[in-house]
């Protein structure tokens, strides 16, 4: 057959001058600019486009919009597969390579469909019964086959080669939907003076007006409205943009498709995710036509009546020559007349006993056969419909056909309005759900409010646009809307499911849910719509049941002998249509996923063999690569150099907070468990903060720079939390304290020189400064300048060695770092990384993050003496509660490995030697290191107080590596318990 043999020679909104080449299942086909993939397939006579989810039944194109349940395809191009895309919304562009889904070996011949092998297993509740019931074991056997059989398209496994963007947008009035109501609302709101964003998922504005002939009055109205909006400076037209969700604060989630027909956009983001913040929203989302339920109503060649009209008038495709239109209402008759006018042989089967006389008269004029009180019972035809069985007043009869158009009335598109909890309410007069009461900043217009006539929608849109603008304080007088009356008759849109034949009658095409499944759910007690949904998987497909919801509800209502409002509606949740995860991620992928923080000395580390480690957002030197040493050898070598000579460590990541004000000392006295009021100027003190519940929050040192000024450091991990906490207490608890806190973390580069030769190195590096013990005692401060930048030297030790923390203006950090290394060269000064830093503090018994884990108290960590009998500090009262004093409370102990050649591991569980190692044990190892001083592994642990007697043995079990090792409980200070090395 020739290409485009179903295309009409005239009309439509396609550009016959611009042919577009595409591929479907390996076949090269031609469409035109302005086509969707679906319309181009129909024009080429392709009716079979996919296989269904469970039963692998042949399926065709059912709709002309985002509600499409059947015609889902995979776009496959080099290195990329995107599955489950509705062919009805894919704008045709050169080079599209589409594949049908869920078929093997081919679309036309599918093994599973022929054998029906799995059908008995796949009835409603299959998964529930298999998992919950006595057949559970059977699942193990069937899972492999069922997983292979079920599921639609297959995603690619390579990284997505496309780019995505995220943008932020703002508007006074956002209007969702570019049909007659939305266009009218946009004109009114813009005329009132509001900034308007008009959102339309299609690549053309117009909505249902696009189903009108391209030379009609409707088309003229549309051209005028579009021209007016395009020329308005306050209106942003967002075509190819789907509003997929409405969120708090009137934030609308949008995904915009790049115009695939514009080659100049080829390198741009494929999709853009926009968060649009609107002061008010007008919903003009239209309505979706309902299918009719009869046996084999899923056959290729069954199509919504409005879709057939859209394919005819918008795309100039006549999808059938011998057409049966089955309807319950007037709206489908518009398709009847247009299809007959285009030359098709049309029969109307109207369920109503007496369709309106005016319609019948027009039908007679066009030679359409009208069969009143008649419905379709069954259909035959495999890959395309061939014959229908009709049931009418004169009994059953057969009729041949090549297209069946159905209309079970319309359902207002209330998905988006439901997202923020506006419950749909059933309205008898339109036989459907419309949104309930809106809050003051949201409005609805047109057929989504049940206002089905075009004239009514335009009027309604004008009102909603005016009110939405007025909500934003924009109420310049707007001209009356230009009218358009298409003369639709508004009749009640009844929905019922008449008798069906023996074959499956589907309510949800995508999820393969039949009336039989609904009956089964009802029989087994799953009557509530929310249960029905989960039991049958109704509405859970990528189409979210846009066409199926109402039929299922009506079916259940009939079974329960209840009304539709009594049966209720399920909750709609975002997204309205499927959203690519790539669009939500935007450019925040790979190493852009989160920000990376680098210290001022980062460049030096990278250039000098540092293995870097991610610590939160920070990049820190893990260890420095030396010839042939692995991390375990390297950190021990770095420890040795600190203990025997000196080491240089980048500690710029510490949180640094400037605390100032007349009440600063009182403030610190309250937030630290140990006292700070009497700290002399020029001295530093180690401090521990608690939370209100008595658990340790963070530790660090604070130095008194002047009477009313302090310099606080926090742990790297808690820097932001501590600052926020201090601000909280000042803002909410103690507004009377005259104190200001400011983060200065990024203003200072910080480095620590530790080891017995550290003072000599400082003397060499700062010859003008007196760094003698008399001038700079342990816990002392020296303030000066270096190279014109502020310099602070604090004599503090974390490693247990004599050590100095040196702070300098951040921009001079790397310069001072290299200067110190240079000055320290004669003294064997070596840089060391966080692994050695951690090991040094474990050897010295200092607690850190693994011990201060949000569960431990001062007493647990052996720091109870710091608070002593003080009161009046944060956490003071609840830290003394009885539960924290229980004898089996886990407390800090030291462990040393007593098995030759074995090691301790952080996270190991501690048991008594004669115990079966089962359960949570009596505690756990928190930090470990090889101790060069001791010659074996040592560690810190939290161990129940009632079994922790120093000198006794425990067994450390590490199930991840099936390791068991004996250890002795010792003091957590493994080195220099008298602290003499601080002064060495």
């Amino acid at each position: 057959m020739s290409s485009n043999h179903k295309r009409l020679s005239m009309g439509g909104r396609i550009d016959r001058e611009q042919p577009v080449e595409f591929t479907f299942d390996g076949r090269s086909l031609i469409g035109y600019r302005g086509d969707t993939l679906a319309s181009a397939l129909l024009a080429n006579g392709v009716t079979l486009v996919g296989r269904s989810f469970k039963y692998h039944r042949p399926r065709g194109i059912f709709s002309a919009g985002p509600e499409e349940p059947n015609a889902l395809v995979t776009l496959a191009t080099a290195g990329k597969r995107e599955p489950n895309l509705p062919a009805t919304t894919l704008e045709l562009a050169d080079g599209i390579v589409a594949e049908s889904q869920n078929r093997w070996p081919s679309l036309a011949f599918d093994v599973q469909s022929v054998s029906g092998l799995f059908a008995p297993f796949l009835s409603a509740g299959f998964y529930y019964k298999t998992f919950m019931g006595p057949t559970r074991r059977a699942w193990m056997f069937y899972e492999h086959f069922i997983r292979k059989a079920a599921g639609l398209g297959r995603a690619g496994s390579d990284p997505d080669p496309d780019r995505y963007d995220i943008s932020q947008a703002f508007a006074d009035v956002a209007i969702v939907g570019g049909g007659p109501a939305g266009l009218s609302a946009a004109r009114a709101a813009a005329a009132a003076g509001a900034r308007v964003a008009l959102i339309e998922q299609d690549f053309l504005l117009g909505g249902q007006l696009l189903a009108e002939p391209s030379d009609s009055a409707a088309a003229a109205w549309l051209r005028q409205a579009e021209a007016e909006l395009e020329s308005s400076e306050t209106v942003t037209l967002m075509k190819r943009t789907t509003a997929f969700g409405i969120y708090d604060g009137n934030v609308i989630g949008l995904v915009e498709q790049r115009d695939p027909t514009n080659p100049q956009l080829a390198g741009e983001a494929r999709q853009t995710f926009t968060m649009l913040r609107a002061r008010s929203i007008v919903f003009a989302t239209g309505a979706i036509e309902r299918p009719m339920v009869f046996s084999n109503n899923d056959r290729p060649g069954v199509m919504l009546a409005s879709a057939a009209r859209t394919y005819l008038n918008r795309f100039a495709v006549l999808p059938g020559k011998k057409i049966i239109v089955a309807t319950t209402n007037d709206s489908a008759w518009r398709a009847v007349f247009d299809l007959a006018d285009a030359g098709a042989d049309v029969t109307v089967a109207d369920l109503r006993a007496a369709p309106p006389a005016a319609l019948a008269a027009e039908a007679a004029r066009l030679g359409v056969v009208v069969r009143a009180g008649t419905h379709i019972v069954d259909l035959r035809g495999g890959h395309a419909v061939r014959r229908a069985t009709l049931n009418g007043p004169d009994g059953q009869s057969e009729a041949s056909c090549d297209l069946v158009c159905v209309s079970g009335g319309w359902s207002p598109t209330v998905h988006l309005t439901s997202h923020l909890g506006v419950k749909p309410q059933y309205h008898d007069d339109i036989g459907g759900f419309v949104p309930g009461a809106f809050p003051a900043d949201r409005f609805g217009a047109g057929s989504m409010m049940g206002n089905y006539s075009t004239a009514g929608a335009i009027e309604d849109g004008h009102r909603a646009g005016t009110e939405a603008a007025s909500f934003c304080g924009k109420s310049a007088p707007a001209p009356t809307p230009s009218k358009l009356d298409l003369g639709e008759t508004a009749t009640a849109l009844l929905f019922e499911i008449p008798s069906v034949g023996r074959g499956k009658a589907f309510v949800d095409f995508q999820m393969d849910v039949t009336t039989g499944d609904v009956e089964l759910a009802h029989r087994e007690g799953y009557e509530s719509v929310e249960h029905l949904k989960r039991y049958t998987t109704l509405g859970m497909g990528t189409d979210q049941g846009k066409t199926s919801n109402f039929a299922a509800l009506a079916s259940m209502a009939t079974l329960r002998n209840a009304t539709i409002p009594e049966t209720g509606a399920t909750t709609f949740r975002p997204p309205y249509t499927a959203v690519a995860l790539g669009a939500l991620a935007g450019r925040a992928i790979g190493h852009h996923f989160k920000p990376i923080r680098r210290t001022p000395m980062d460049g030096w580390h990278m250039a000098n063999g540092a293995e870097m480690l991610e610590v939160g957002l920070w990049m820190r030197p893990y260890f420095y690569r030396q010839s042939g040493l692995d991390v375990n050898e390297a950190y021990v070598a770095e420890m040795r150099s600190v203990r025997q000579a000196a080491g240089l460590m980048d500690i710029s990541t510490l949180g640094k907070i400037d605390v100032q004000g007349p009440d600063a000392a009182i403030f610190l006295d309250r937030i630290y468990a140990n006292g700070f009021a009497k700290l002399p100027v020029g001295r530093a003190r180690y401090g521990v903060m608690l939370r209100d519940d008595g658990i340790v929050f963070d530790d660090g040192t604070t130095t008194r720079l002047a009477e009313n000024r302090f310099f606080m450091t926090t742990s790297t991990a808690k820097a932001a939390d501590v600052l926020s906490r201090l601000e909280f207490l000042l803002d909410t608890a103690w507004p009377d304290l005259r104190v200001a806190v400011t983060s200065v973390s990024d203003e200072w580069a910080a480095m620590s020189v530790a080891g017995p030769k550290s003072r000599a190195i400082l003397s060499a590096a700062f010859p003008a400064l007196d760094v003698s013990d008399a001038a700079l005692a342990h816990m002392g401060l020296l303030e000066s300048e270096w190279q014109g930048r502020a310099l602070r030297i604090l004599r503090l030790s974390y490693s247990g060695e004599r050590a100095y923390e040196i702070y300098v203006g951040a921009t001079a950090g790397e310069q001072l770092w290299t200067h110190l290394l240079e000055a320290g060269r004669p003294f064997d000064l070596k840089p060391y990384g966080v692994e050695a830093l951690g090991a040094l503090r474990v050897e010295k018994g200092h607690v850190a993050g693994p011990e201060i884990d949000g569960r431990t108290t001062l007493d647990d960590l052996g720091l109870g003496r710091m608070a002593g009998k003080r009161t009046g500090f944060v956490g003071d009262v609840l830290r003394r509660r009885p539960a924290f004093q229980a004898p089996d409370r886990q407390r800090l102990v030291g462990l040393e490995c007593i098995e030759e050649g074995k090691r301790l591991r952080g996270g190991a569980i501690l048991f008594l030697p004669d115990e079966k190692p089962y359960g949570h044990g009596h505690g756990r190892v928190t930090s470990v290191t090889f101790s060069p001083e001791r010659g074996h592994y040592v560690g810190l642990a939290l161990l129940a107080g009632d079994v922790a007697s120093e000198g006794s043995e425990v067994v450390a079990v590490y199930p991840m590596k099936a390791e068991t090792v004996r250890a002795r409980i010792v003091s957590p200070v493994f080195l220099d318990s008298q602290g003499e090395r601080l002064h060495g």
């Binding site: 604060g249 932001a720 926020s724 803002d731 909410t732 009377d736 005259r738 009046g872 609840l878």
Partner: protein, 98 residues
């Protein structure tokens, strides 16, 4: 997403803010020795369906702690005030400690 009208910075997205818990509980005086008072402050929460007073800090902004009245049923925000002003009003002109 929630949009919070910061008294200093104007209407901003909630991801500029940090949530800080229930603002309706009264913090005992810092030297209150009563464990029950601290227990109630730390652990007892009303969890209302309706208006809820809660702390938010404008961390990526003015860094002020705010008291936000939010309806837990629909996230509608009824009021936003600076916590410092509210707490200063509650304990008026207490002389700073010597």
């Amino acid at each position: 997403m929630l949009r919070i009208e910061c008294p200093c910075c104007g209407l901003r997205d909630h991801d500029e803010f940090r949530y800080g818990g229930d603002a309706s509980v009264m913090r005992p005086a810092h030297d209150d020795p009563d464990p029950q008072a601290w227990y109630r402050y730390v652990y007892i929460r009303a969890n209302p369906a309706g208006l809820h007073r809660e702390f938010w800090q404008h961390v990526i902004g003015c860094r002020q702690w705010l008291v936000v009245e939010r309806d837990t049923r629909n996230h509608a925000i009824a009021s936003v005030e600076l916590a410092r002003q509210l707490s200063a009003r509650k304990s008026p002109a207490r002389k700073p400690p010597a």
